[in-house]
């Protein structure tokens, strides 16, 4: 447990989710272990005692997440319901507690695997491993980021922003890192062996994380080589792919890819229906934010059916479609694949971006970065921040 706590505390810092020394991370098998001593340890230890959980993180997120979480939590009731797909599918909603008392936390964490406090502290738990708490922590930060910036733009369009809110927004925006650079050079095709394919996938996955196009716990990646689609395993961080890439024979002759990414259906249809080899799927934040802002006037489905909207929208020629994670009748793959014949990249409503490369990951990466920078520029232009 100690080594896992150390690993995921390191990842929180590396991903700029938490500043060094700020995360309180505990886990329990028989006796609880903590990454450091802290005045809140006794409260959290009681939770580990009282609840059927294995691990807990309690931390004030790093900027700009900190200000975003704080701002939303302070002005919310006892629950926040962001509209991004990750929250909708896996978290459903995020409880807000008044303070970090064991009573309030116990109540919130008996309903959900994560919560935030009015002061902007994020608490995440897991019933299996510290990684689970890390993923939940990361998901909550992502959800608040998207919600804060998305809500602000919506209200700005409506002319509903106060001067105070504008000032807070401008301060927060200054803390947002720069957009991804498009000059990354990745391994070039042709790849002569399975080993080289695996290395190319690992390299592209890591670069996608490091450039901020996806948080470490999300996203997926694949490459078609011969009659096999090599694809990242479900839940595998794109910067830790070595040994976690499944071979999925296109003729269906093996089920080994039962552990593949939940977006395997999308990857499969894209590579079998189009002349592409590489597929990259990330959750670049401004693409997700802009996808949530539909400008269609008087839509009677707004707020109820957006995640299943059958229409294709465009931002500067980039298509936006809707669909659910994974397989099923409303699965993303049904909406994404038809557009890939004419586009190198497609944004999925509230979710992320799929991009492709004909030969290797350079095109796919560049397209994802281009989409994200386009959405980012559009966002800041719309909010009068250049």
């Amino acid at each position: 447990m100690e080594s896992l706590i150390e690993k995921y505390e390191g990842k929180l810092i590396e991903a700029n989710l938490v500043d060094e020394g700020k995360a309180l991370f505990g886990a329990v098998n028989v006796k609880p272990v903590w990454n450091r001593s802290d005045r809140r340890t006794a409260t959290l230890a009681r939770l580990l005692d009282d609840l059927s959980i294995v691990t807990i993180i309690c931390a004030e997120p790093a900027e700009p997440y900190r200000s975003m979480v704080k701002h939303i939590a302070a002005s919310s009731g006892d629950c926040v319901k962001p509209h991004d797909n990750e929250t909708r599918t896996f978290l459903h909603d995020i409880p807000v507690v008044g303070g970090l008392t064991s009573l309030e936390l116990k109540s919130a964490l008996s309903h959900r695997k994560g919560a935030v406090s009015k002061e902007g502290i994020v608490i995440a738990t897991g019933t299996v491993s510290p990684e689970q708490a890390y993923v939940t922590f990361s998901s909550i930060c992502f959800a608040f980021y998207v919600k804060y910036l998305g809500d602000y733009l919506l209200r700005a369009r409506e002319g509903n922003i106060t001067r105070r809110e504008q000032n807070i927004f401008r301060k927060i925006v200054q803390k947002i890192p720069e957009g991804p650079k498009g000059d990354v050079r990745l391994m070039r095709a042709p790849f002569e062996s399975e080993q080289k394919v695996l290395r190319a996938i690992e390299e592209a996955g890591a670069k996608t994380v490091h450039s901020g196009l996806v948080d470490s716990s999300f996203g997926n990646i694949s490459y078609r080589y011969g009659g096999i689609l090599y694809i990242s395993q479900t839940g595998c961080p794109l910067d830790e792919l070595a040994g976690h890439i499944d071979p999925c024979p296109l003729d269906g002759s093996s089920c080994v890819a039962i552990t593949a990414s939940s977006e395997l259906p999308a990857h499969l249809t894209i590579v079998t229906e189009n002349p592409v080899s590489a597929v990259l799927h990330g959750h670049p934040k401004f693409s997700v934010i802009m996808s949530l802002l539909c400008e269609k006037a008087d839509c009677n489905q707004r707020g109820t059916r957006c995640h299943h909207c059958p229409e294709v929208r465009y931002i500067e020629g980039i298509p936006i479609v809707a669909g659910d994670v994974g397989a099923g009748l409303r699965g993303i793959h049904r909406a994404v694949q038809p557009l890939m014949a004419k586009h190198r990249g497609v944004v999925v409503y509230g979710h992320g971006v799929f991009s492709t490369g004909r030969y290797d990951f350079n095109e796919a990466y560049d397209e994802m970065a281009r989409i994200e920078n386009t959405c980012r520029n559009r966002y800041f232009n719309a909010t009068d921040v250049s």
Binding site: H111, S129, G328
Partner: protein, 583 residues
Amino acid sequence: MFGWMGKVARIDVSCQSLTIEEPPIETYGNYLGGRGLAGHYLRNQCTFNWYDPAMPLLLFTGPLVGTPSPTSGRMTIMSRSPLTGTVGDCSVGGNLGTELKRAGWDGLIITGRSDRLIGIEIIDERVFFADASGTAGNSADALSRRLSERGATAVIGPAAENGVLFANIIVDGHFAAGRNGLGCVMAEKGVKYITVKGSGATAVHDPVEVKAASEDVRRLIAASPALLGPCGISRYGTQALFDLTDIRAVMPTDNFRKTRFSEAPHINAHAYQERYKPRKSGCRGCHIRCKQRFGAAGTLPEFETMSHFSALLCNDDIETVVKAHEICNAAGMDTISAAVTLACHAEITNERLRPDEIISLLSDIGDARGLGKELGRGAARYALSRGRPDLAMTVKNQEIPAYDPRGVYGMALAYATSTRGACHLRAYPISHEILRKPVPTDRFSFDGKARIIKISEDANAVIDSLTACKFVFFGATLEEYARIFQAVTGLKCTFQDLLHIGDRIYYQERIMNSMNGFSAFDDDLPQRFFTEPADRFPSGETPPLSRSDFLNARSDYYRIRGLDNQGNPREDKARSLGLSWKA
């Protein structure tokens, strides 16, 4: 009352009488239904011999059965196991649970012994006793087909009538209430079949909320590669797991002497699809539909059956596997136990069983003929009688399923601590150790596993009591099901509340087993796993389990579960859970 029907039928087959019991709401709240409620009703008789007329055979549904909740068409059958002597239970699919609810019953408690073979026929609130002497020796599948017009069915086959200790009860012709020999209990009572037809409905407190919460579950099912993914069990049935256990080198082979079978890639799910062109089928209220049917009435073997009738017996003939599965289903006997017992026999006799020998021995077991009669007592008793108890791959006399514990340490602990003998489903650590859900854990480590196993056991006790299918939890969690439970029953409930109830259900089972003499001595694995290495992928060896690491993990488990250092329940813990202490 919402969710529950408020009535349990006590049926005494000795005098063919029916008594209606109306459990208080507290009892429902404390035990939910299914496995929990069945355990509650078993408790006072749990020390009786399984063949004692007073020993109940319990069939219980749960509050979600008969509602739109995803995968809720299941139920539990429970008694004391003839095979293990422990609590014996099985969650089973099909339509029986739903029909029982529609007929107005939360459960049946069947006691007594009929002096002639009978059938119990239930139509709504009426219970009839039919002369079934003409069905003696009938196969389970054929009798199920004949009775299907009378509603959902639960029947026993010749194996149960002939005293095979791993005889099943077969529901709706294809769904086995297996593992523990529950068929023998039904046979001992002189009941050949039960049919149920109902016309009512389960009242739901907030149907709109149930629908919304069920949508959350359906989204998670769609997002789970193991469920609806292109290689998942909705597409290939549970056979989808076969390739993975091969490539992870946890496929029990040659009576667990090896963990890779060289022919596995040629006899995988794809090979079955090519040969049998199956169509999907499933339990009532499930859209995953993991059952694979072919021809007029055939079903393809599920993963455990497929793996054990091939790799475990070093058999690479698919048709033999399908035939073996058919024989077991017709005779009404457990495929895992049958295969492990045959593998034990093969090792003891130092022979590799030919396909025709596998088939003929299975027929002999079902008919209690010759050597089959000995084998029908299970691997542990057979091996003991041959002076080689070390070659029985069992825990508490129950045969080990198709995941070798040397490659999945959580499963090693789960096999040992299971209250019904070797069972992959009590804690189901395959979810995180193999399928990476909700996140992956190190399958070669015991670190943290004791608490994970304890929490998973509690969760699965809840799932078996609500009821729902365990497969759903490759995607969903009790978070979503707590919301459904609350919407169905109108009772305030969080997922942590449910886990607390799961703790109570599980502890009750530990108490019952303790009352029957089970302790740390029984929470153990065969010596082979501590002394012999296994295969590793793509080559090399997986070391044997460290005995000391295993014992430390088990000690940790005892502490976390609130047991003493011998695995016995403690009075303070029992009382804290609201359970009565041992009589």
